[in-house]
């Protein structure tokens, strides 16, 4: 399957990555190269195979459950310490509501 330029622009928009017009063709070529290469998986018969969803090896017990309780919190200063923009105890962003 080959991506057209409209799909390349749509994928960039979904990924929230600005894609200047003069780069669309290059990115299209790269993505199609990779997608063409991974296409070979379609040749594998996977009928009846359960997908492997995590990294835990076969035969090892899955993730444990824990009590649904608060274990952390009350650290606004630390949470905000690396914010590029803040106002009081809030992250600052451009105006989103007119």
């Amino acid at each position: 399957m080959s991506l057209d330029t409209a799909t390349v622009r749509r994928v960039a928009a979904l990924a929230r990555i600005r894609l200047p017009e003069d780069e669309v063709a290059r990115v299209q070529g790269e993505l199609n190269g990779i997608l063409g290469w991974i296409e070979q998986l379609q040749a594998v018969n996977t009928d009846g195979v359960e997908p492997m969803a995590g990294g835990t090896p076969e035969g090892i017990a899955a993730m444990p459950l824990r009590e649904d309780v608060v274990t952390d919190g009350g650290q606004a200063a630390k949470v905000l310490a690396n914010a590029p923009d803040r106002e009081g105890e809030y992250f600052g962003v451009p105006k989103v509501v007119e």
């Binding site: 929230r16 492997m52 090896p57 690396n82």
Partner: protein, 495 residues
Amino acid sequence: MHPTDFTLAGAVAALEEGAISAEELTRAHVDAMEALNPRLNAFITITPERALSAARASDAKRARGEAGPLEGIPLAIKDLFCTEGVQTTAGSKILEGFIPPYESTVTSQLKRDGAVFLGKANLDEFAMGSSNLTSAYGGVTNPWSRRNDPDVRLVPGGSSGGSAAAVAARMALGATGTDTGGSIRQPAAFCGIAGIKPTYGRCSRFGIVAFASSLDQAGPFARTVEDCAILLRSMAGFDPKDSTSADRPVPDFARACTRSVKGLRIGVPKEYRLDGTPPEIERLWRQGLDWLREAGAEIVDITLPHTKYALPTYYIVAPAEASSNLARYDGVRFGLRVAEKDSDLRDLYERTREAGFGQEVRRRIMIGTYVLSAGYYDAYYLKAQKVRALIARDFTQAFAGVDAIVTPATPSAAFAEGENADDPIKMYLNDVFTVTANLAGLPGLAVPAGLDGQGLPLGLQVIGRPFDEETVFAVGAALERAAGFDALPAIRAGA
């Protein structure tokens, strides 16, 4: 003997005997780092003052009889581990200036056991690469060079290229790395040192900048197999902060290094004989198997039939998980923000991520976004998860008849900057022997075993059953003893 020539185990013994102080040991490594890092660029951030003050505190702890198992041992920390109060960049511009307010579990356990941190080691951006050339902070020079072409700068491998170069050049006694498709084992092989990716779940991922969560595992680098075993014992263990971390006891891995391999069955997968593999690597592989046979192991041919689908599977699963994990870099809560005066929120996101991510990272996020998008999820992502299950099943079936598997670590020795750069897939093929262990969640160790015709190190890989790092260490140590690898890189402390 120069203090940078110690093995990690040797340094522990010398500190215990009082033959050297932690401050002297750290000072020697700080001097080496300050002398060599301008040439090698193995560290993004160096913290000599912190290291020396930690070393002095270590000496005081030892004097009080409270020395931990790694007391006073200077290490390099891959700049993917969050370190409280010390910049953590993940090799990306988007995290430049990010000062974590917390410590990763792995590094906090190393500190608990007395380790001294020298600085934050360079890496491919977000650990995406096999050359260290995708780092926003510049590439790393491999301390080794070609005999006939000593001026050509070689890459240290990646993504943990700075960690491997720092240990090989004797700026650190050991280092942390992470391995998502080969990012510990490939640079270890390229730099002539040992490195292990343990079983998925052995080390906590808490506080490690996430790339592909179902594949990422932390592990150590060191110049000997035993030194890796010592470090892994401190790094491993259950952590309630990582739901995939395994609640099982951590064995004394160093002890396993002395175990005999007599009677062990060693599998040799026929699918790892690839066209185009240099004859020197084929020869070294056969040599390694001969060494193990001489040590009493039985060599068994095995088959892992889905091997050739491992890399394409990886290049769906890893970018998919990366596109999700890297969605957090939005220019709002931490890291870089790029906006125009009239930018709305969406424009802020898009400009920040365009400017903050390098080309390879943007490429992988877009691949991941596409394979997860409506209408393509089943054809790509679900299909890859199913093939991944088949790859894991291949190993389960093989391990019914063998105790460990031995393969080459990499399909080539270290390459030069610029080689493999024209086509992303060519670069991806570097991980052909290592990526299967990540997909199946298995432990894999790279051991330096010989040199190629240009005098560059080549490694062998030992893959083991889940949570059986002990057998992996036993086989790795047997290979190491037989190989007697004592070659040294041209660029190193004390040279």
